[in-house]
Symmetry: D2
Subunit: 380 residues, 4 copies
């Protein structure tokens, strides 16, 4: 089968655009984005730079990423925010991290079209992510790199996704020096920003760990428990807490469940988020979590009841809105913060969580046996 993927790969290579803090763009946001979603994007820029990044608030900022943002070249925005200390930890779909590796390994993704014949693409060995195109061999080679990394590094036992991504990032930097300028995973490792994945089996990274177990007898395994607890511990330690949610999906919930875990499961009255920014195209009326509003989150204790003015949802494609948002933030007077290096503090934060949870448990009245099934309404 003499495949010829090249005929589909003539579009310009996709690179990681780095926001530079354009004052023109800040002017547009300030004076041209006045109402509707432009107004919301302007609000989001202000909440982020004026409040979340204000030194006196010392906000612990989580970024959640769903939707194919690294294939679309948005990784540069994330790198810039990490470098400048504007994001402290990340929760991402596995797919975004897997496709980020293509950039680290210097494989080329191309601008294309969403209107191609997929049967033809399949026959020619071309993979399509909406309008992004690349040869199927990029997948095979990236998979191979991942599996070799497991073997080479002798990864074993149950670890967090944060540790997996951190070690992956360092391996990339060691083997492909300079790649951190082109890789979220590598630069996160460089800047000690932990990256979590809420659905560890759901991506090509997870598929390759599964292979490693089945075929190599590897013991490497993701421990979702510790992921949950580390995120809770990070949130618990925050002076103020805030999030930037791109898309929605499982990463959004994984972040937002942090506060309910604290009060509902651990009995620690931490309170909800202080700031909440979401850029999404999902809609509240479809009833899913991706489209759920900050207001709905209040009833769950995910968002502080008093802070609804400090929450905003911008309905827009992140590929348009997020670069504008980053330009605004980078160019602001709060465009740089000291990095929190949370990756290095995980053990200590976890110990704090355990201590506080133990204390909370001690102070809770012991439930009587009769409480086992309380006086809740039942209709059957």
């Amino acid at each position: 089968m003499p495949k010829n993927p090249q005929r589909y790969l003539g579009g310009r290579p996709i690179g990681y655009y780095r926001p530079r803090g354009s004052q023109d763009i800040r002017h547009l946001v300030e004076h041209g984005f006045q109402a509707f979603n432009a107004g919301r994007l302007s609000e989001a820029c202000h909440i982020f730079t004026d409040k979340m990044l204000a030194p006196e608030n010392d906000t612990t900022i989580g970024l959640t990423v769903a939707g194919a943002l690294t294939p679309a070249g948005l990784g540069g925005c994330v790198i810039e925010l990490m470098d400048r200390g504007l994001v402290d930890f990340i929760i991402s779909t596995g797919a975004n991290l897997y496709h980020d590796l293509h950039y680290a390994l210097n494989f080329t993704l191309h601008r294309g079209s969403p209107f191609l014949d997929d049967v033809e693409l399949y026959e020619q060995g071309v993979i399509r992510i909406y309008d992004v195109l690349f040869p199927a061999t990029v997948l095979l080679e990236t998979d191979k790199y991942i599996r070799d990394f497991f073997v080479r590094e002798k990864l074993s036992g149950a670890i967090t996704t944060a540790e997996l991504h951190y070690r992956l990032g360092h391996d990339l930097m060691k083997r492909f020096p300079g790649c951190e300028d082109h890789s979220v995973v590598a630069s996160a490792a460089k800047f000690d920003v932990p990256i979590y994945t809420s659905s560890p089996g759901d991506s090509s990274i997870g598929m390759n760990i599964a292979y490693h177990e089945l075929m190599n007898g590897g013991t490497l395994m993701i421990d979702p428990n510790r992921d949950v607890n580390e995120v809770c511990a990070i949130i618990l330690a925050g002076n103020k807490n805030g999030c930037v949610i791109l898309g929605g999906g499982s990463p959004k919930n994984f972040y937002l469940q942090g506060q309910p875990t604290l009060w509902e499961v651990y009995g620690i009255p931490k309170g909800g988020n202080d700031y909440f920014i979401q850029i999404t195209t999902d809609q509240v009326v479809w009833g899913g979590l991706s489209g759920a509003t900050p207001s709905e989150a209040v009833s769950w204790g995910k968002v502080n009841p008093g802070v609804l003015p400090d929450t905003v949802v911008t309905y827009a494609d992140s590929t348009i809105a997020f670069p504008l948002f980053c330009e605004y933030a980078v160019g602001s007077e709060h465009g740089t913060r000291a990095r929190k290096n949370l990756y290095l503090k995980r053990d200590q934060l976890l110990a704090d969580l355990k201590r506080q949870a133990t204390e909370a448990a001690r102070n809770r009245p012991q439930p009587e046996a009769a409480d086992m099934m309380p006086d809740l309404e039942r209709h059957r």
Copy 2:
């Protein structure tokens, strides 16, 4: 704080409606649903009943569930499909399974409104899922049941989500006899239908396992690797494969990555899905996986290139479209199949996967060292 949740809980209790195979509804679908999304829903009904359920095709059918369907009372549709052998395995968000437990435990969720004051709800201890309302104590009691179950059953070590849910379902049936008529988790256990969760830490079930580890020193842990491999093994064993995707999200991808795992990672040329039905409100133009079309999936080997006519996406809220779909299927001549009891066959299927993967690996040419970084295009 004398909370008074009752004033918000006057709406009718939400129950698990069971489809009964209405011939009126089949008539409407056949003659009234002719074009646009009504036409697509009619197509979906035909692909499911005429093709996927046709005895000669012996299709292995996966159902993926995202969006808050159990809170909206859709669990009865899923139970009916499992009971009749029309669905062989399930991939669900954890949230749907967690909220299903409220029904099993006979706590009452109420019809409400999406237009309430969430600060007031929060103060009164009422939880809101879009327009579904219930007391916050329902969460606390459900959590308590889950944690007690872990202790009582002495769950330990790394297990699959399928096993976790199966054992949970049997515990529910044992302690609350008859609850399987009101619980997806319990009835799945009864019918030996495995239920997987792609994001095991991302839900209150996951939160409570994390608690169990941190506070009880429990060793219970979800092994995402085995989840990935079991789903692959189930798909590999299918005579034909097809899916019904409600919503999208992480469960959709977790199902659809099965075929790519087989060819891309294990080197087994299984081919893609034969049938693909999705009910969603997400859109292709936003570029995410939830809205990605069967056509795009062809380029990834997730859907067989030859079967695009046997794929369909209906753009509709599942709360409306799925009950209609189930009524149509249940009332059709293929409204009952022998159940596959896949839960009981997991070990054997996994062994088959390992055997075929080993064979495939043996037949693959050993890559030379020079192949390590192949002749792929790079633009840096």
Copy 3:
């Protein structure tokens, strides 16, 4: 160019499905549609049948229609509602009325697919409306019928769209007896239901009137003023007022501006709508009128401030939700009302409007010259 449209026209003919009041469907709506948009659809069914159709309310009910509903076969639902007196007047896009004529003239539209090659369709002389297909000659013949009708009936001078459609309907019934069972335009004429179009030049009907003026020297012209005033007069005369809005668009606004015209322009304090039902897929967050909520309409005096509980928006494709809605209403105890025959009462209603407006003007204080530019805030 030997065109061959037949190869695309193999799909089943699209007919006008007539709802029959299925009790199964009423059962599903009552017990299965509990939350999310299913819950909203259930609410819409209840507001319509329990309140709008309740004899004691004697509600004047307007139906507005946007989106290609007649091509999709939804005309039968509208005919059934008119026949039963459940809808008193209609505001529709011209396109829906134009395509309705194909059914009256017994031309066949076919079920097709949205995934065809449009360049090929164009070359073969096939017209596509999403997934509905028919030969381009259907357009040419329908146009010819319309132009012949103008000449034959010697239509001239400025008339309302209601009169145009009424006379068109009677011509159809005269020339194609029995066609009223297959035509909204014809059956509206039969049942004396006035049909207005908010954008009279924007459809093939308008295009052919424009031709008639330019090429035949015809004087026939639509008078938008009288359309506006007749709709206001109908609303003014209503005991209670309510609407069923399919889609949104210009027809939605044309209906909803009725009340503001009364208070803002004519000075008559009629108050806003008492009932408001919309089935749409547009979203409030995009800021357009199609997606604007009943709540927003309150600030404009379009909806009565006290009745928000009697308003509902169901987010769904009308092709799915509207037949269900009609089945529910037709099968209810209020499934038939005496028809209001508003077409025959237009002159009298208009006279009433003029009388009341004159009285209101008499009672308004005469503005002083100094009032010309009042003390409103200006920022330049």
Copy 4:
């Protein structure tokens, strides 16, 4: 009733932001907007500036406007495009033109929030358009200005919307010198850009003409026929034709029906559009015209079959995407064209249309009587 609207009017005044051709924004579009809707917006910018504005193509460019863009402050973008000759004629909803008058009359609209209590707003006399707020008196005063204008200018008889808006614009400039910098209607009059409205009765302007007829015995009336024919004539005269469609709705169809009117009704084989740019959030899968693709338009002869590469739809809120689009165009090497002054050429263009249509009619074979109802498929 001592109303106090001021408490809701504390937000910054909304002004008409004027794009200035920022090179930073051009850089972002070029290098940062690579895929997904960012990629589409980049494509739209290139089609507009590289092709539609290329001197050798001498494209006649129509801009259609739906959605509340003038309330959101987008009027400045439209003024800049007209001033620079980058838009030759406009089709707008009446609402956008009506609300534009507030700016001309120097009334102030304010930035607000979409989350206010509308019953309270109603009681305080505040009007809300999504998140834009202003006192109800602004409506009353604008209405008064319009009605006074009719009387003062002695407007009478049937005229086009283009003439109505043109004369309105000149009246504004005469009475409020300098207002053209803050008004689309006034600046269109200044630059001889005709503005059409597809739904002349559907807005407060139309409501006030209707008042004028009913209460003043005025004969002023919009002639939709001449609107249709003028738009056809403008399109017919274009060397190349292209459109920029904001939103969709009735203005979109009114523009796009131009070519079908020419071939289907007048028998003039002009061919479809050469360029097609749409910025919308509507979706193809809902089946309406607003979301219909350039591809679907090919089957109707609305878009030239050969030019699909020169068509693009960007899915985004116009309030974000249109200012970026305008900055890109204004800053390009084709950022200024000679204005076409189409308003002044309408009579001549209409005469050309009539001449060509007469010729086409002469050359068409006379249909036989037997052709009256041709051999089309019928299924009844």
